[in-house]
Symmetry: C2
Subunit: 538 residues, 2 copies
């Protein structure tokens, strides 16, 4: 074997940070704040971020130490995003919507040394502070600039002023840890994913060559919370092509977001289907001009036909990607191929309902319960397993690792098909499949079919216990029209799904309970309604 003779330039966020200020100094960063709109440039961001890192050094933050954030999407959070990893420390973005006990767990598990917190979130932090074992310093980010240092906290702007702007950044090996995110913990305590500079950089390059290519002509509305898997990577990748960012601050209501799209002429939006549906409703209700948007992307849950049709009606193409906390997150993006231009609208919509081909350097396979790899025929299903340079090889400090990996592949816990062109289609979570008499029924397929009825706001299908079949599907439905009946729902499914898939019953709810990241909380639904059929069946 012979090695090449190329420079060993490490792939680090430090380069992307330098590049932002050097090549795109005039690009705007816009944040909605309590008293208006904050605007500055990437050049400003560069100076302030450098001061911030210097100030963190001054209070003794060491390479490898964890620095936490509990923050809304804002320019200050964006500064912390680079100051911490580029100084060699680790950015731990805490999901402050977790249960307080879980927040205590993750912050103690991470051994966070310093915490950045938005003033509006501070009361939550103050409450759990006695339980935090490792936190030395709390720095409060206050829109209104009138934070009176209290409880020994520091105010962000005063803290930043204490740093200087001619810091020499350390030369970091590319495998240096840069970020720490926890899974949402729907099946137990959250688990930790420790990203490296290399993995975050390659994630950005991979997304950038996926066909969803952002340039300096784009203005991205940062909808995905910055505590949620690196806000899908948008803040880190700015340095590649210099696109502009619009941060909504804590004004995350769909009506606010729709207004921001119009006022700031946003070109690109990305978020979970629930919030995108909310934006659609807000645009229809408020009459916002959203003609500046050239592309919308959803992830986190499956894109529905009605959302595709809704956005098509707005003149905005919408597509979906797929990923997990464990995959940094983006692993696939459902861009349509040139050869599909000739297809019918219906065929193209069916393809857009899939999660798309894997990004470069991500590999996927589907395996059955015996570990046998299944063919890419669009029909055979199995557990989706992935590997690649931005997939975790282990959870951080975690005894439960063994169950999540197989022969160097990460086991996603999702059931999927892959078609001959490599488009993956998520059928269900392994644990959400309905196991009826030894056969599998996809709860997701049933949900999509039920939600096709315009009287349905949302629908979740769960595996309910059944005396004969072990499990049978139960539909939990939120309706916007009280005349909608169980029979109408079941009738709507006949001919669309196999007869034996028809839910045994429908329960109408005011709301489907959600997890902290906005997904259906099927665990809770099952606790509440899992025995429904035992009570109602004859």
């Amino acid at each position: 074997m012979l090695d090449g003779l190329m420079m060993e330039t490490p792939l680090t966020l430090t380069h992307l940070f330098w590049r932002m200020g050097r090549y795109f100094p005039g690009q705007q960063v816009i944040t909605k704040t309590a008293d208006g709109t904050h605007r500055y440039t990437l050049a400003d961001h560069g100076i302030r971020t450098t001061r911030l890192a210097s100030a963190l050094q001054r209070i003794g933050v060491q390479p490898g130490e964890r620095v936490a954030t509990l923050g809304w999407n804002s320019y200050r959070h964006f500064e912390v995003y680079f100051a911490v990893p580029c100084m060699g420390a680790v950015l731990h973005t805490v999901n402050f919507r977790l249960h307080p006990e879980q927040i205590i767990h993750v912050m103690n598990h991470a051994e966070d040394a310093v915490v950045f917190v938005d003033a509006t979130i501070y009361p939550l932090l103050a409450k759990i502070r006695p339980a935090l074992k490792t936190v030395r310093e709390i720095i409060v980010m206050d829109d209104l600039g009138n934070w009176a240092d209290q409880d020994g906290t520091l105010e962000y702007e005063a803290f930043l002023e204490g740093g200087h702007s001619d810091l020499a950044w350390p030369a970091l090996p590319e495998n240096t840890a840069a970020g720490l995110c926890y899974t949402s913990g729907t099946t137990g305590l959250p688990k930790a994913c420790l990203y490296s500079h290399r993995s975050l950089v390659l994630h950005g390059l991979g997304v950038g060559t996926s066909g969803v290519t952002l340039t300096d002509r784009d203005r991205v509305l940062s909808i995905v919370p910055m505590f949620h898997v690196n806000a899908w990577g948008f803040p880190f990748a700015v340095g590649l092509t210099g696109y502009e960012l619009v941060f909504p601050g804590r004004f995350m209501q769909p009506t606010d977001l729709a207004g921001l799209i119009e006022s700031e002429k946003v070109t690109y939006i990305a978020g979970v289907p629930t919030i995108m549906a909310g934006i659609y409703q807000a645009v229809k209700a408020q009459g916002n001009d959203v003609s500046s948007v050239r592309q919308a992307t959803v992830g986190g849950s499956a894109l529905s036909r009605s959302l595709i049709e809704g956005f098509d009606g707005l003149g905005i193409p919408i597509l979906q990607g797929w990923g997990m906390t464990e995959t940094s997150p983006v692993a696939s993006i459902g861009v349509l191929r040139a050869q599909m231009d000739a297809w019918s609208d219906e065929e193209r919509i069916n393809r857009r309902l899939k999660q798309g081909p894997a990004l470069p350097f991500v590999e996927m396979r589907i395996v059955d319960e015996e570990g046998r790899e299944q063919p890419w025929d669009g029909v055979s299903s199995g557990e989706l397993q992935v590997r690649g340079p931005w997939v975790i090889r282990a959870y951080y400090n975690e005894p439960r690792n063994a169950e999540s990996f197989a022969d160097g592949w990460f086991r996603t816990g999702d059931v999927a098909t892959i078609d001959p062109l490599g488009y993956v289609h998520l059928v269900d979570r392994v644990k959400d499949l309905v196991k009826s008499g030894g056969e599998w029924i996809s709860s997701v397929d049933l949900e999509n079919a039920i939600m096709h009825n315009p009287k349905v706001v949302e629908a979740a299908v769960i595996a309910a216990n059944h005396p004969k079949w072990t499990e049978r599907p139960l539909a939990c439905v939120v309706r916007n029209d009280p005349t909608l009946t169980r029979e109408e729902i079941l009738d709507g499914l006949r001919g669309v799904v196999a007869d034996w898939w028809l839910p045994d019953d429908v329960v109408f709810l005011d709301e489907i309970p959600k997890t902290s990241v906005g997904k259906f909380d099927k665990k809770l639904l099952r606790e509440r309604h899992g025995d429904h059929l035992l009570k109602t069946e004859p």
Copy 2:
């Protein structure tokens, strides 16, 4: 310090090769041949390339061994491009337009074990074969399929048939050597650049996020010879987004290329200015429909105003990149920024005359003769130095290494300015600058100004020896109108360049001699005309 916990997936061409066949199996590869047009798909390419690698294993090619090609741009060359590096060996693409003595030198220096050669180039190889010390096997690629094994050579198709298509590719570390290219050797013996899998992959990702983003809707005409710095990376990066390739075979005349653009509906062309100017002339003369082309890119020499205006007239935007054999090659691409949309046409053309901002992860600086870094003000000039993951850290097996590197930077030998937005502008080669009385005069600026006259076909300015000023500029001009005089040329320069830059004389030539890669051979010009002023000055 703390390391991330991400998978250690290597960045290799093997993944890109796998991805081409798995995700883009139906995309076309088109080659012009002696008796028509050869077409097949990336799926076909995958099967044949695998057989080829297997056949190479069968004749004993070892990991790390060098396998040479002397070939035109064709699907077979494209097969060798992947078979060799993916089996762990090193692809050495030989520039067969070098002087035979230089070809002997590079092939012995590389210690090539096996050679792939086009039948039409075989006579050249046969002549030098006795001087080749390490070549064990010669495999001939013949368009017409009627190669009678002679001189102990093997015929490509028969050789390939001997391999099988279920080869298990080796798992290669990403720093494994993948390719070997030699510089064109204008200043001495050619020097060798040994690329790694990692560097070629990152080059592809870097170009792919530069703003010149190819997708599976693109069809790229492969004009840059495959022996010339990896054909600028186009063949290797197909697996990222699945664009289609059109290979012209040995039909490299501008008239042929213009015809191919029309008949194959090419969307993207890239090449040196000379060949692009030829294509422009051919299109004008033949009336080809080139409306399918959405982008043209030049590199290798500076883009001229007249070429910009010519292509603008065809409705084809043209831009330039910059790079060297030592930079894999692409280091910068002159995409215009969003903020320049508001500029005047003149300002935008002036910007397009620069070589553009560096790609992500490439860094540039300019330093004066004392090694002091110069500001990015668009005025200060100095030697351009670069570093990055696809820049060589040393030439392969080369005693002259020390002079080419400084503190981890590669010294390009080019003199450049960089403006506040990071656009680099190459003023000249250090060795081509005219040193007149202690001041520098840019030969390139003078050439561009002279070539603005439509009666000028091409012009090269060299440093001619001068009794008083040491050196003075001498213009070597090819005219298409015999009425063009020395005085008219000098008058055209007055007011455009400083008076003391005006060439002392003009010599009219039938042709500017070119190097093997089509650049002006100023070394030869200086040998022939360097003493011109000593003879003519009073």
